[in-house]
Symmetry: none
Subunit: 244 residues, 2 copies
DNA sequence: TTTAACGACTGAGTGATATTCATCATATAT
DNA sequence: ATATATGATGAATATCACTCAGTCGTTAAA
């Protein structure tokens, strides 16, 4: 077996040329990833990346046309990994509710960890006129397709309402999570609990709010009404004691 | 009247020194706004802004410490205007549902128009360690407070459930809208209809889901009775304060 | 009136950084 | 061994945010 290895001209322990190039590219991407996620796009310099990767500055441009392209490459491996883990995670869940919960928590935790990469999407990639058709666009499509699949399947099984358009639900799902990330990052402590709260609420909304719908409706309104009667009574009492 | 004018040393028709400085600052911000919204942060140069504003490059630094600060100033006038129009718009709406619909549409249309400014929030401002306590942070707080007020009031009236934490609802609201913006910008045609669809769905979710739920609550006999007690209390209050 | 001080402003100059390119090094092919 | 192609280099270039020594007009003081 291993015909590729067997056909190698050189019996030397060093890798083939192609492998060497590949590993160098990997090293560059890894170095760029580290700098981008720790210092952000604006503050990372090509010189810094080159140093971390152990290559000359000019070498970076043999592998990537410019800083943007390098950042996009970093984003690409992030998306690839994100999509893979999302797919395998969903496959392990039995119900639609569990799948959505997993996807939400998975997305939220992932983007909290790599928050700085989201800058790139917002400020850089999305602005290019040629975003559609780009690699990043395709990867994004593939990633959100996981969510779409779960929702479609859930609707087919009758586990969730499918009233609204799919793209709207998708935007609500990912939009809420990305915005929540900002809030969570600003809160000093707490995390686990807050993440769970966001996930639970979001899933509840997307599932149609079904679980909580039956009882609370009349009960909820009733409680509110009682509160208001109570408040109104207090106001009346105050008036009467003042004796106008 | 107009003691300031009367006290002015010079009767000349030109503006006072302070006014001249102010109008120059306005010109700089306007120029920066134009460049930032049309070309994005990275591609606008200080030289370009200076040219548009009709001042020397060095002058920009008399008014703003650096490019970031100038961008933040642009963001500030955007927030100020956004908050004002949001407040006045909400005041004109009678029901919670209408208020939320107005806020959602208002936010979505505004950020579609000034989409490039959102970059600044995401990629620049939010990264600074000192974001809390900054002017932009305060303005953001004031803006989202409009939404918070509407939600709180709606919960008080019993028009909406207030099961989830307020900050979660807030993130869902603004997050969904900002993400939807991206989708809407990528769709070739259509706008009005899609905006309405997003707004409707989002409001439906925040109001507690099912459309059928709204009717029974307000139609409930108890709620009507509460309205009457509430109104009666208010009338008495008015009467008593007038007399005293 | 002359002089000094001040505030607003200028734009050539500085430093940092992305990007290029002439050149070198090594491996592969003949 | 020589030639060729591939990979790599880092000094040089271009761009751009930012600085600063100096100008100009106005006000205050002598």
């Amino acid at each position: 077996m291993q015909p590729a290895k067997a056909r190698a001209r050189k019996p030397s322990p060093v890798a083939t040329r192609r492998e060497r190039v590949q590993s160098k590219e990997d090293a560059i991407i890894a170095a760029a990833h580290k700098s981008l996620t720790t210092r952000g796009f604006a503050k990372t310099t090509m010189a810094e990346i080159a140093r971390k990767a152990g290559v000359a500055e000019g070498t970076l441009y043999l592998y990537f046309n410019n800083k943007d392209a390098l950042a996009r490459a970093v984003l690409a491996v992030f998306y690839k990994r994100l999509t893979e883990t999302a797919k395998t995670g969903v496959a392990k869940c039995a119900t639609t509710r569990q799948r959505l919960e997993f996807l939400a928590r998975h997305h939220l935790e992932s983007i909290i960890g790599e928050r700085r990469l989201l800058e790139l999407i917002a400020s850089d990639v999305r602005n290019t006129q040629a975003y559609e058709g780009s690699d990043i666009y395709k990867m994004n499509r593939e990633y959100v397709a996981v969510f779409d699949g779960v929702m479609r399947d859930g609707a087919w099984r009758g586990e969730i309402e499918d009233s609204a358009a799919q793209w709207i639900k998708r935007d609500i799902f990912f939009g809420s999570l990305e915005y929540s990330m900002r809030t969570l990052l600003m809160k000093k402590r707490s995390s686990k609990k807050d993440i769970s709260a966001v996930v639970a609420e979001l899933v509840k909304l997307l599932m149609g709010g079904a679980g909580a719908r039956v009882e609370p409706i009349s009960g909820h309104a009733l409680v509110k009404a009682v509160d208001r009667v109570d408040a109104a009574a207090s106001r009346l009492e105050r008036l009467s004691t003042v004796k106008m």
